[in-house]
Symmetry: C2
Subunit: 459 residues, 2 copies
């Protein structure tokens, strides 16, 4: 931990309401890492728990004056180390910024960043409206973090990702200025698309203190198909056959290891012998929905599914979806994880999934793969024992090789989690030097002192 | 026209294929203005008709070396003077860049910028796919221009705007470097959201030379409702009643003057006495669609519609839609136009529409208003006789007051056309100084010499 002049820290404490600044080492410890458990996370000199935009401004102004790093943090559920603390810096937590209002006429929610995704969905549902983006962690991740990472989820294959629902925001810039971008307008092209630029910027350009979110009418009840396959190739081929014909409301993939990890933990009666499983939904109404379910079933059967189960019972469908969402925690029970988030153009999905299998074998590590298969976004979860240095090395090599494979297939190192600190070193390999330079120019233009989340995304 | 050293111009001609550089004054004249007919448009020293990215790079490198302004131009159908030529600069036309490939598996189109929107739709339709954004000018506007302005259209109320369909692009930067951003990935959060930043940047940050567009399954056949009202308030109230209940596939508004301009030109049998008309569609399948049409009809009747006509005949629905799209040319036949594109939060739609009526009366000018009512985006068309200086002054005052009204109602000066040069002076009023400064910082970071479309959006 870097030492800081106590007088400087006192200025921060004095600029904020009582209790907003934590300096007790035991309390600070809980803010060092997010779910990525970055082993290189630093120790902050203080944690600011802001309650309003003005608190964020006061903290950032202070940080700017003293050139102190500010790591923004929502619920701490990030999976790429985007909220890893920095030695000598502060963590700026938005967990206490929890107000929301819903306007059912304009169909927008105006929310502070600390609300959980599930709480935003609930507030919308009270007006018969729906906020679609649904990261698997939706019950524990914050809406501010969702915007900062441009988070995805299961329904995104049909309904799009976070940026598609962000109409406006208030954001505190690197010098402490608070600006409003966009607003409750479905169309607004006046000036550069700054709202869209801040979405997914992982706290490197500013700190989001309010979001204006587009809501849509409540999702119709969905029907669900669960299909088991004897090989990952067959399942991946079925995915392409489905998406060529229709747009499912969900199209998820689980491999053998994931199926068994889930069965060990929640016992859904999934086929433990299957090499792969697809979970698909249609929410088209009436006969159109029945037609879509038929299309999904036929595609699975044509590609050699050993078992296909369809249900229009919404609760049963949700139980399978919950099982799919439980893969992360279930696999986490098996060891330490290196979490991948690689995506490829859909045609390359079979090559990616079989390539990951080959990497697992080659590196002699367990990789459980789940995927938002319908949009080509996969999560190979590399399991290792951190007390075994050799296995840890092999896991790290596998982690790198999976990203290299995705890049070679024309894909991305991150589909929805963000680059954070753990995937930063692979970013130039994906983007190339010219695009890296574009990223750096914008970062420098907006944060010339480099105090906002330094080390995340860009080095 | 600014004089240019002939040797410098020869360098440009030498750097490009034969016939790519026009210098003949008569030929150049046709590239001075877009549809906004900007009276302050300059005269370029040359027009470059690029055929590929390399041509664009060669032209921009030359322009950068000699600090010469580059005004990018698609089909020239812009409505805000975004392509007004600049004295001493060049116009860079993408009209000859017309290649497209459609991948039905990944469901993307990779297209050069010079294709018309209608041609992109047609190429997608050949694979049973749909590119939704549909500016009224879709038969004559280019897809590159659509991306540069983040164009909207009629179906955007349900299906979103251009940016929602742009997955990636190739773009030539101010120094002539060509970069690829994004790609055929439905989810990609690696690095800043640069693709989204370039969409809507109106050629001020770079020149788009290729687009990767997301396609979706073909739109189901739509049913249509046409409803007449005795006042604009009633029609606007019906809009709110409809959008509170459902998400129509189209929800358009025409006022009395627009109805009559259309009837004068295409004779659809619209009620010439109506003060306002709504045109709504549902494309939900089967019983769900019938239910939506019922909801629309009931909302119109509840708010005093004098006549409500519903049809599930797709051809008949398209005829009404074509009539709506013909408002611009029909009104243009009545005189010179100042074209507004103001949008407001949906709740403020009645206040905007009645406010525009009051401005028309107050300024004693004819304003025909059509609107993409379902998303709060309106097009008051101010008609004037340019040979009448007093009327021209009053039209200009009305033009300004309509934008001031939109800003006062929490809205935007441009919902889908772009700021260009004609609305630039109102941008600071909407965005405020801090957000203007953000815009300028990014502009300067990416175009330090200020050669890309100078005078558009930012002064």
């Amino acid at each position: 931990m870097t030492k800081v002049d106590p007088a400087v820290l006192d200025q921060l404490i004095g600029a904020l309401p009582d209790g907003a600044v934590l300096t007790d080492p035991d309390m600070i410890a809980g803010y060092r890492q997010d779910w990525a458990a970055d082993p290189n996370a630093g120790t902050p000199i203080a944690v600011v728990r802001a309650t309003c935009t003005e608190d964020v401004q006061a903290a950032v102004r202070w940080a700017s004056e003293h050139r102190i790093a500010v790591v923004p943090r929502g619920a701490g559920s990030g999976l790429s180390g985007g909220s890893s603390a920095v030695d000598g810096g502060i963590v700026l937590s938005t967990e206490r910024m929890r107000e929301i209002t819903v306007d059912p006429v304009t169909r927008v929610a105006v929310t502070q960043p600390g609300l959980l995704n599930a709480e935003v969905k609930k507030a919308a549902a009270e007006h018969g409206l729906w906020y679609p983006p649904d990261p698997s962690s939706y019950e524990i991740c914050s809406i501010g973090g969702n915007a900062a990472t441009n988070a995805g989820g299961l329904c995104c294959v049909k309904y799009g990702v976070t940026t598609d629902y962000v109409l406006g925001m208030q954001v505190v810039l690197a010098d402490g200025t608070a600006v409003r971008l966009g607003g409750p307008l479905l169309k607004d092209v006046a000036g550069l698309s700054l709202t869209k630029l801040f979405v997914g910027s992982e706290g490197t350009l500013g700190i989001i203190t309010e979001l204006t979110l587009r809501l849509i009418p409540a999702q119709p009840p969905a029907s669900t198909v669960v299909a088991s396959f004897e090989s990952v190739e067959s399942a991946a081929d079925a995915v392409l056959a489905i998406t060529r014909e229709m747009r499912p409301a969900m199209l998820e993939f689980m491999d053998h290891a994931s199926i068994n990890a889930v069965e060990d933990s929640v016992r859904m009666g999934l086929d433990r012998n299957a090499r792969a499983l697809l979970l698909a939904q249609s929410d088209a109404p009436g006969a159109a929905g029945a037609q879509e379910i038929e299309t999904i079933v036929a595609a699975c059967e044509k590609h050699g599914a050993t078992e296909v189960f369809a249900t229009d019972d919404a609760a049963e469908g949700e139980a399978f979806t919950a099982a799919r969402r439980s893969v992360f925690p279930a696999v986490q029970a098996m060891g330490s994880l290196l979490l991948e988030d690689v995506g490829v153009p859909l045609q390359q999905l079979p090559a990616l999934i079989t390539g990951v299998e080959a990497i697992a074998e080659d590196c002699d590590v367990l990789i459980c793969t789940v995927a938002h298969a319908g949009d080509g976004n996969t999560h190979p979860l590399i399991v290792f024992d951190p007390t075994d240095p050799d296995m840890t090395d092999r896991a790290r090599i596998a982690f790198s090789r999976v990203m290299d494979l995705a890049i070679a297939l024309g894909g991305t190192i991150s589909g929805e989690h963000g680059v954070g600190r753990l995937k930063r070193d692979w970013l130039p390999g994906q983007l190339g030097e010219d695009v890296m330079e574009l990223n750096r120019r914008i970062k420098t233009a907006l944060d010339p002192l480099g105090i906002l989340n330094p080390g995340a995304v860009l080095s």
